[in-house]
Symmetry: C2
Subunit: 242 residues, 2 copies
Amino acid sequence: MPKTAGIVLVGNEILSGKIADANAAFLCRELRALGVEVRRISVIPDEVDLIAEEVVTQSTIYDLVFTSGGVGPTHDDVTIEGVARAMAVGVVRHPRLVAILEGYYGARLNDTHLKMAEIPDGAELVGGEPVRFPTILMRNVYILPGVPEIFRQKFEALRERFRDAPIHLKSVFVRIGEGSLADHLNGLLADFPRLMLGSYPEFANPEYKVKVTLESRDGAYLEDALAAFLRRLPAGALVRVA
Amino acid sequence: MPKTAGIVLVGNEILSGKIADANAAFLCRELRALGVEVRRISVIPDEVDLIAEEVVTQSTIYDLVFTSGGVGPTHDDVTIEGVARAMAVGVVRHPRLVAILEGYYGARLNDTHLKMAEIPDGAELVGGEPVRFPTILMRNVYILPGVPEIFRQKFEALRERFRDAPIHLKSVFVRIGEGSLADHLNGLLADFPRLMLGSYPEFANPEYKVKVTLESRDGAYLEDALAAFLRRLPAGALVRVA
């Protein structure tokens, strides 16, 4: 059974246009390469109720859920509380996280810092090395930070957990428009109903008019579909296959 | 009553990591500048049921909904059908859109092209000039294309419809970390409960450690909160205000 995933960006700063997301874009690329199908990205405000509601929904529907953001020490960092509420558990301090914070802050350690030792009750710590701080995993929900450099470091430490059968991709670039192409795509889908088929026009591109993507977890099926599609194309329509 | 908005990106190509979103990031910036509060971005697959479900939810909760993508002539362009299903209406061809397509394609016009004349029954056409093709508005749902250049052109033709009371913003850059800052932020929120307050650490930035954002629709309230925050900061902590 192919793995599915959902992404929850806890992101007032994205919704208010202050920054553009980098984490979901990174995660979609990485998970696809690992063979995991991302089915939803939700960007929601830094509000406990909304986080809880979204995590309940996504963690029920998808195999994996990744949250990004809202895990620092300030008032607007409420992701841990949101995930805990989603799972109907309390928030507790994890002794290993407390020890890491003690090692890092020493005598300067205060209650604000210790907020970063909080986890939903029952969560586990995963992927602690070579990254200093491990990732909090609550059931199927990986709680990741919003800062892109740390988000990536933490994901890298975990990535092999998520590897599934690969999704093979072929891209066909054509110099005819979607209006001429649509019938060929429909015919191809009729013959290859399990094919994942995308059609992406590029109006300002001098090289091609449409990029057609063919994808499948079955490499032989994909090759057959690609050959059938190339046979269907009118003479001269093909620019290249990649 | 401040206007709220939701954004639905119909985007297999985003979920599969083939492209990074540009439209939601653009729309969040533009709407914020107009005084509209974006409350959710959902990126979902090109599937009629999922589009319908998301549009039902968002159009009920928010004042405005914007969809992006899935409006071309090919098999994976199912946004019109999804919005129609959300509103429990059929799909019909609009005579004005048919006429525009006839003018554009002439004798080459085929049934595939005519798919682009389809609207949810009861939708209106808005913002047709100076853009060639008007935008389809179904109740409070603006149906926009995924191609960024056209998305922006269409939004520009509509933007003054969305203008609301502005949201004022002040950014305070400080050279102390969130661990030292959190108490000051909590104290500020206790005194100014209607303040929108964000705290964004930058670990790799040589100039400052945290960017604090203060926002309000009330300019005088914001100025008072800013003055109170600056008084709270320890000596030497302030880098600059912008």
